[in-house]
Amino acid sequence: MMAWLLRRLAASVAIIVAVVTFVFVLIHLAPGKPCAVGEGITDPEICRQLVRQFGLDQPILVQYWRYLVELAHGNLGYSFALHRPVRDAIADTAPFTLQLAGAALVFDFTLGLGLGIYQALRANRLPDIVLGNITLFVYSLPTFWLALLLLLLFGEKLPLFPVGGASDPILCPTVDSLYCLADRIWHLVLPAATLGLVGAAGTARFQRSAMLEVAKQDFVRTARAKGLPERRIVLRHQLRNALLSFITRFGLTFPFLLTGAVLIETIFAWPGMGRLTVDAILQRDYAVVTATALIASTMVVTGSLIADILLVLADPRIRIHDDAVGDIVTA
């Protein structure tokens, strides 16, 4: 197990380095420059000076080497557009993205699991058919469209929730009281619900199938033949075994939530890393784009690793071959 874990960690680091390199090259090759004379800056000399100051006039290989050296020293670089260390910009925004992704994850799995189990228990009956169609409908909705709809509905028409932002700037510039914690949660509801709702529809469909698959197994039939109560059969035998697919889905959902957050944060003015990334891409802020790719890929790889470890711990039938790098196989 330990050897597998170490190999897996090494592979994770390699993936992260590859992602960072790819993003670094891609953003440098993209058309557009971090500073150009136009509708803002009118003096070309200012651009030239800024580009020199930030070392952006150097060849891409030199810039990449410098970036790696800085990274090795724990320095994520300096933001050209924000005029501040990238580390500070990330530190300001990453907690908000984690809050959003975390809340969406809870929303996704709580609602999705509940619906999936409910549907499985009433398979092919009216509630299952109705819910099946609803989840399919929600699953096929574009996230940005749903976000705008919820914003208009619950922000403007029925003003139940705040329109954008992470807190009330008048009462709660920082979360320093219980009231402000409640305020933060209140601000979180719409963006997290948007992000979680589409995911929940997918999770529900996934969980329903898993539950029905397990229901066909011999051990469930045996449990029923033994005369165990239905509740115990569902919770102890059926659900527990169906949770393996849930863990797999957890690993797959995390990247989806992070990429979804990019759009949701922009629409709901949520001050997270997604919005930071969008702004940085538009402004060709190379250091920030690369750093957010680094953080996001680390999160995704970590999420995937956690899912694999959970899978191994949850299912004793799963064994790890000592020579396997990333594979886990069932016994």
Partner: protein, 552 residues
């Protein structure tokens, strides 16, 4: 009750109590909180580097200029200017201007504001290491020296009509005692820019990254206590969200509402009052006069003045403005926004005349020889691409309308929607045919027009590479003229010259409409800077709402 339900009940009760906790209520005479929905966050609040509109709006409250333009927006001479940090000034000869700093002025850390700060400020703004975007506007000032602790002396290189404007408009006085020790090449990233100490009507309180900046009124401000106690700029990345926040009564001010349909949406919000005011931006279809990607050769289509004139005549600008912008747009009489005092609808412009446009194109050899609906000459079709920024729906809409107008006279147009940085790179390097461009004016016609349309601006803002020595001469004369009437005559001649040359089609000048909560009283908006007179706004006690009385 099962134990777990007991625990849940306790948690819910605590949360409910927390939600109901009482805050202290403001009892002061200036109670009031004004929340602005700002698009985008400043990079820094250090005035030398404050390029974004939001940064400049906030700096209006934190740092004073020596004097500022008055409601007339007249930038000629000094009679229409209003004193701020300088209590008075006098001319000591034709090239020397003496300012007397108001002895009551204090930095927010308690230090006195002095003439040393004024001289230090000029030195910083003009230092290449600081790379201030305002540096170019100060090139005609030779020096600023200190005569005594409250007297600063400006010496100019030459005599011209906007000497006073240049001396006061571009610089906000900085605290020398706080910035002297900061290396100049590090000013853009200096911590001072995120925790500034100024001398204006408001003090800096906090900056929550990507969320909000809060200011608090300086009750000891020497020009009078500001009318509203708290100002909050709440950052929003999107105009649509900002407008929804205004309608949902979650912010008090949105200084510019766009597009025109949004104005109708805001009109439905009973608590919001609309305030129209003159705009600072004009938009045009700029023709690249040099070949796409090779600035040494003329453009095969736009290098021909007659063809540019024909294309301009093919567009009915008035009807486009009416159909897309309604009351909030005007057809500019040249390359200018309605902010400028030289705005004159009587200036000679090319008429909208499709028949004449077709005649010109025929005469220049552009005919539809192969019957495919597109004119051609020597086998080359009369076709070009218009570049549009992805961020502007309005400009995209206009490009589509122009595409249709040109199609009617046998000109084929394709539209490239690109993001802002790509557009800036391509226009600067000359890799484009035509582009939907916008330019923002400050109150002086000299600055913007010279930068965007004279030879001096080529390589910079003059992305069409328009180069007419006669136009440059007229602009120089207009800038150097010593009377407003004389300047106006030269400006008129210059604008008529550029209109006749048609390096672009000057499509629309937007007027601004601000949405402001109706409880706010004494709202005065200066067109060049909506926040310049914010300290005079008031919220009368009988109109105050909960958020006005909250003590943070």
């Amino acid at each position: 009750m099962p134990r777990r339900y007991e625990l849940l009940s306790i948690l819910l009760a605590v949360a409910a109590l927390g939600a109901c906790e009482r805050r202290q209520l403001c009892q002061a005479p200036d109670c009031g909180t004004l929340v602005d929905a700002a698009i985008g966050e400043p990079r820094t609040l250090l005035p030398t580097s404050a390029e974004e509109t939001t940064a400049q709006d906030i700096d209006e409250q934190l740092f004073l200029k020596l004097a500022d333009v008055g409601p007339s927006m007249n930038t000629v001479g000094d009679e229409d200017f209003q004193p701020l940090l300088a209590e008075k000034w006098e001319w000591d000869g034709p090239l020397t201007l003496v300012f007397h700093v108001d002895p009551r002025a204090r930095w927010h850390d308690g230090q006195k504001v002095s003439a040393v700060d004024v001289a230090f400020t000029f030195d910083a703004y003009t230092d290449s290491a600081v790379a201030s975007p305002f540096r170019a506007q100060l090139k005609r000032i030779a020096s600023v020296t200190v005569r005594d602790s409250l007297t600063a002396v400006f010496r100019f290189r030459e005599r011209y009509q906007e000497m006073f404007y240049d001396a006061v408009y571009h610089m906000r006085v900085l605290p020398a005692h706080l910035l002297r020790s900061v290396p100049r090449d590090q000013w853009k990233t200096a911590p001072f820019g995120r925790q500034p100490i100024g001398d204006g009507p408001y003090r800096f309180v906090s900056w929550q990254a990507r969320q909000a900046i809060e200011l608090r009124s300086d009750t000891t401000f020497f020009l009078g206590r500001p009318g509203i106690r708290r100002l909050i700029w709440r950052f929003t990345p999107d105009m649509g969200v900002a407008i929804t926040q205004l309608i949902a009564d979650q912010v008090d001010v949105r200084e510019q509402i766009l597009p025109p349909e949004a104005i109708e949406r805001v009109r439905t919000a009973p608590q919001v009052k609309l305030y129209p005011y003159r705009g600072t931006v004009y938009t045009y279809l700029g023709f690249n006069l040099r070949a796409n990607g090779d600035t040494t050769k003329p453009h095969p289509i736009f290098g021909d003045r007659e063809v540019r004139r024909a294309l301009t005549m093919a567009v009915d600008r008035a009807s486009l403005v009416k159909s897309t912008l309604g009351d909030i747009g005007k057809v500019p009489p040249g390359p200018m926004s309605s902010l400028l005092w030289i705005w004159d609808p009587e200036v000679r412009q090319l008429p909208s005349d499709t028949v004449q446009a077709v005649r010109i194109l025929n005469a220049r050899g552009w005919r539809d020889h192969d019957g495919d609906g597109v004119r051609d000459r020597d086998g080359q079709p009369l076709a070009f691409r218009i570049m549009v920024p992805s961020t502007s729906m309005l400009r995209r809409q206009y490009a589509q309308l122009l595409q249709e107008r040109f199609r009617l006279i046998g000109v084929h147009v394709e539209i490239d929607v690109v993001d802002g940085s790509v557009m800036q790179e391509r226009t600067t390097s000359g890799k484009y045919d035509a582009a939907m461009l916008s330019r923002q004016n400050n109150p002086s016609p000299g600055t913007g027009i010279a930068q965007s349309w004279t030879r001096a601006g080529i390589g910079g803002s003059n992305v069409t590479r328009y180069d007419n020595p006669e136009f440059d001469r007229l602009v120089d004369r207009a800038i150097s003229a010593m009377s407003r009437d004389q300047a106006k005559q030269y400006w008129r001649a210059a604008i008529e010259t550029i209109n006749a040359d048609a390096p672009g089609i000057f499509l629309y000048a937007l007027d601004n409409v601000a949405g402001i909560h109706q409880r706010v009283d004494n709202v005065q908006i200066r067109p060049d800077s909506w926040a310049a007179l914010l300290r005079t706004w008031r919220i009368p006690p009988d109109r105050q709402i909960d958020r006005d009385r909250v003590e943070p």
